[in-house]
Structures are given as C-alpha cells and as structure tokens.
Symmetry: C2
Subunit: 305 residues, 2 copies
C-alpha cells in the first residue's frame, strides 16, 4: 500500500473551447500547474463536470494528460457512470494507462436502490476489469448523487475485494460519517479522503489519507501546506485560514466560481465557460467573488495566461 | 401535427442475455408483440433500464427494431443523458432512423440547477441536431431524475422551438401538475402524456394525448382498449379495472415485477434478469406477484415463449 496515492487532490475543472469541446491543451496545462503545486489529479470529478462530458471525451482527457508526460501515479480520474459497460470501459482505460486509482460514483439514476444492488454493481465492475492493479475509491456524495455508499456496503466490498477497494471520498459534508469511516476502516489500510479541506485537519488527525477538494483547484499551495504540516503547532490556524477562503467560494455556485477565479488570475476569460445545465456567474457575481477574495488577501499565482 | 404519435406507449423492458448483454432478438420480439397490441414503443425509458445501458448499446437497440421492420412512426425512444454530446448523438440517430419522436430526460446529475441552465441544454440539443423532423417529448420524472421540467421552462422552450417541442411525459404522479400542463399548453397542440395509465382517463378528458406507462408492458390490450373507448359509458369502470392491476404491480419494485410477469407468462425465466443496481424479485416476491395477478383474473397472452 506504500504506493497508494495520498494527500490533497483536486477535481480539476474542465476548460471548454469556444465550440464547447474540451480544450485538451488548456486542461493539460492546468493539470501541470496542479502537479507543480503537489496536488493530485482527481480529474473527471463532480467539479470537473464529468457527467456533462461524453465517454469518448473522457477517454481523450485521460490520454491527453498522460501523453503530455504527466505522472499517472498522481492521478485518480472519475470513472463512475450510471451504466456498467461505460464504467468498465473508463476504468479499464485508466488502469491500462497507469493511473494510481479511480474515483467511482455509484450508479445514480435510480433512487432508493439496495446495498445488494450496489454491491453487485461494484463487484461486476471489479470482475469485468479483472486487473490486480486496480484501486477503487468509492465516491460518497449523497447531496448530488442521491445514492449513498453506506458503511455496510463498504464492509462487504472490503471483505470481498480487499486489495481493490482502496478507499473512499466522503462528500457527505457530515463529519460524523467521515469519522465513522475512519474508525471502522482506516485501521485496515482503507484510505479515507475528506470531500473538502474543511475537514482536512480532522481527517488527518483521525488517520485519514487527505482530501479531494473543489477549492484545491484555486487554493492549492495553502491546502497542500496544511497537509504537509498538520502536526505543527500552527495547524489549527492554517485550517482556519483555509476555511475563510472556502466560505467565500461557497457563497456562489461552486463550479462557476472556481472557473471565474481561474479566469481572473489567468486573465483568460474563456475559463468561465461551463456546459449546460450549469450557468457561469453573471458579471455582478463574478466581481463580487473577486472583490471578496482580494479583500481576504487571496490570489492565484503561476497560472498559464 | 396529424402525424404525431398518440395513444398508449410502453417503456419497453429490456431483456438481457446470460452474459448481461442486451438480447436484441428477444427485445425485437417483445416490441413486435407490443406493436401488435397497438402499443407505441417508448423504449429506452426509465423502465427499460436505459441509463444502465451504454450509448453504443442504445444505438444498437434503435437499429435492431428498425432493421427488423418495425414501424418507426410508432417509436419514441429515450435519448436523454447527463451529457450533451451523448444526447445529441442518440437523438440524431433516432431522427435519422425515422422515429416519430424522442423522450428526453433533463441532465440529471447536478441537482438544484436553474431553468436557464436547462433551457440552454435543450436549446443546444435542438440546434446541434438541427433537423426539422425532430419531435422532442420532455420527460418530467422528479421522483427519479430529481430535476424537474417546470411550466415556465416548457413555456420558454415552446416559444423558441414551437415545431420541435412536441409534448411532455408527466411522471410526477401529481395530477395537479398534469392538469396544469394540459390547461396551459394542450390548446397550442402540445401533447401531454400521463406517466401511467392511472391518469389515462383524466388525461384524455383534459385534452391529453395518452399515456406512457410501465404497466403497458404487461396490461397492453386493456390499457389500449380504454384509450380507444374513453368516451364510452363504461370508461370509468375500465379505468378502475386498470387501476386494480396497476396497484398489484406497485406493491413490488416495478421493473423486476414487470420482468417477473413476462417471464411467467412467456415461460422464459431469463426475462427476470436486470442490470445492477437493480435486483430481480426473490422467489417469494415472484410467487406472491403471480398469485395476486392470477387471483385478479390477469394473464398475458401471445408472448413469444
């Protein structure tokens, strides 16, 4: 397990070209900036608009960053979809390209599905991919997926596939749930990632692996700094400083806000583009966000313009 | 508008082979049985497990039934997905193959999205498909999709694309909502389909076009009979008889229950297969369902064994 991915990862926001196709060159550049800031690449996540991107486009994104020479041992692309064949296809491709792991949503169309049905789904994916290099990180994000990764489901999957079921991202926003995951499964080597840096310090103190956070797209160095120094005396004050920035972003729709910030500090207005059904910030929201961030002393440096 | 599809349609349940691929031959046979019973083919719907079927498989299903000689003027396949490129691809294919219309879910991953974002999504699909033969039926199913097709959204889409936005399937289960759709839009030639035969008589009396119902997979002749004779004196008693059968199915998970009934009366046990995350009925549920249906005098005749 020593080669497992840890630390701070970012669900990399996806840049779109004028014709709304994925801007692979700009995407690769952004991934380079994140890796240079020691941030792992959990691209094709919720904040990447992954489910607004077709399976073929997702394959092309995995290929683009790896073909550009970025290190796949720092990558955990999202490969979950509602249908098994697509999930198997994307997962197999990520494994074949050497990705450290994959972040896997449960199938999220049907609601109120049973743990038995979800167990069969993940089992089938694991068996069909059939590759011992596979590391699956289960993606628990009930506010969006509306389908949960429960503790009994994790327990059952870990029992059946201990070397494949590597960890979880908990985006429930419920610390009690993260703590329960840590208590029950972290001692067995199961890697619990908090779903935002709001819980980073508590997660690390509880034996967790790090966080996978939207705002790691923008506040990368500071979040990574806390990960590296969480046992230092100033850890709590670092956490408070992170929370302050996070709270500003949370006043806006998150994905458009992240893109607005990157557009501003890269002086690249095309970064604000989102795919429907999302809508970019209007100019008042955009200006309000930037003013609040600047007033808090925040900026992003080193972005490609 | 005289060539628009009307009446009773079925979200055709999808048969899977032993290796869990779509059994295209059996699917085609089932569609023939439905067309022989005057039921329109709203295949690739919720009850078809469409979102558990990959885009390539969905294309193959559209091709299979049309290549087998079934009449595309009786077809309204589901082509909605979370991502625009896939929705455009499936929709364009259905139009190219002559389908009467397509049933289109809103993008359903992100929750709490704005009508503006949904308007942009449907607009983009319509413009990218760019074919005047396109008839879109908006699919309102908030209990599952969790993203709604609101009245203001319909109004705006109808204003922009009056010849393309042909109707709606209302699976809200809320008669007040169906009635509001009928009142506001049916007079303009917008075709409102109830989401189940429970509301068939009320929908027809309110100027609606028919229903698209799970149980049309199994209770096809009786539901069609009410559609044909809704102005006859016995219409209310026909409706009550339909409700009685529907209520039996509703005591079980609907999709596995439909497949259990078809498996029983076709003496083809493989019909019970579902894709995860769904789970087939256990033997006690299966027997309970069949006993209740037989006690109600129900059976399915003419199925290929």
């Amino acid at each position: 397990m020593s080669n497992r991915i840890k630390g701070v990862l970012s669900p990399v926001v996806t840049p779109f070209a004028e014709d709304s196709t994925v801007d692979l060159a700009r995407f690769t550049t952004q991934c380079k900036w994140l890796q240079a800031n020691q941030i792992g690449l959990a691209f094709l996540g919720t904040n990447s608009e992954a489910n607004s991107i077709s399976p073929d486009e997702r394959i092309a994104m995995i290929d683009a960053v790896i073909d550009a020479g970025l290190d796949p041992s720092g990558m955990m692309p999202g490969t979950g979809s509602c249908d098994l064949p697509t999930t198997v296809r994307l997962t197999r491709h990520a494994v074949d390209r050497g990705c450290a792991g994959v972040l896997m949503l449960p199938p999220f169309y049907y609601k109120g599905v049973s743990d038995e049905g979800l167990y069969r789904y993940f089992s089938e994916v694991i068996q069909q991919v059939g590759d011992e290099r596979l590391n699956i990180y289960l993606y628990h994000i009930p506010p969006v997926a509306q389908v949960s990764i429960t503790l009994p489901l994790i327990e059952r999957l870990l029992k059946s596939y201990p070397s494949v079921v590597a960890g979880v991202k908990d985006s429930s926003g419920d610390w009690n749930n993260t703590q329960a995951m840590l208590t029950h499964f972290a001692p067995e080597g199961f890697d619990v990632f908090a779903g935002s840096e709001t819980f980073l310090l508590r997660t690390l103190r509880g034996g967790g692996a790090g966080c996978i956070s939207a705002t790691a797209n923008v506040n990368a160095p500071a979040i990574h700094a806390l990960y590296k120094s969480w046992q230092e005396p100033d850890a709590d004050s670092q956490q408070q400083a992170l929370d302050k920035i996070r709270q500003i972003f949370q006043q806006y729709p998150m994905i458009p806000a992240l893109k607005s910030a990157i557009a501003h500090w890269s002086t690249t207005s095309s970064w604000t583009r989102v795919r429907p059904p999302l809508v970019e910030l209007d100019s008042q929201q955009h200006q309000g966000l930037i003013q609040q961030l600047e007033a808090a002393g925040f900026s992003i440096t080193g972005l490609e313009t």
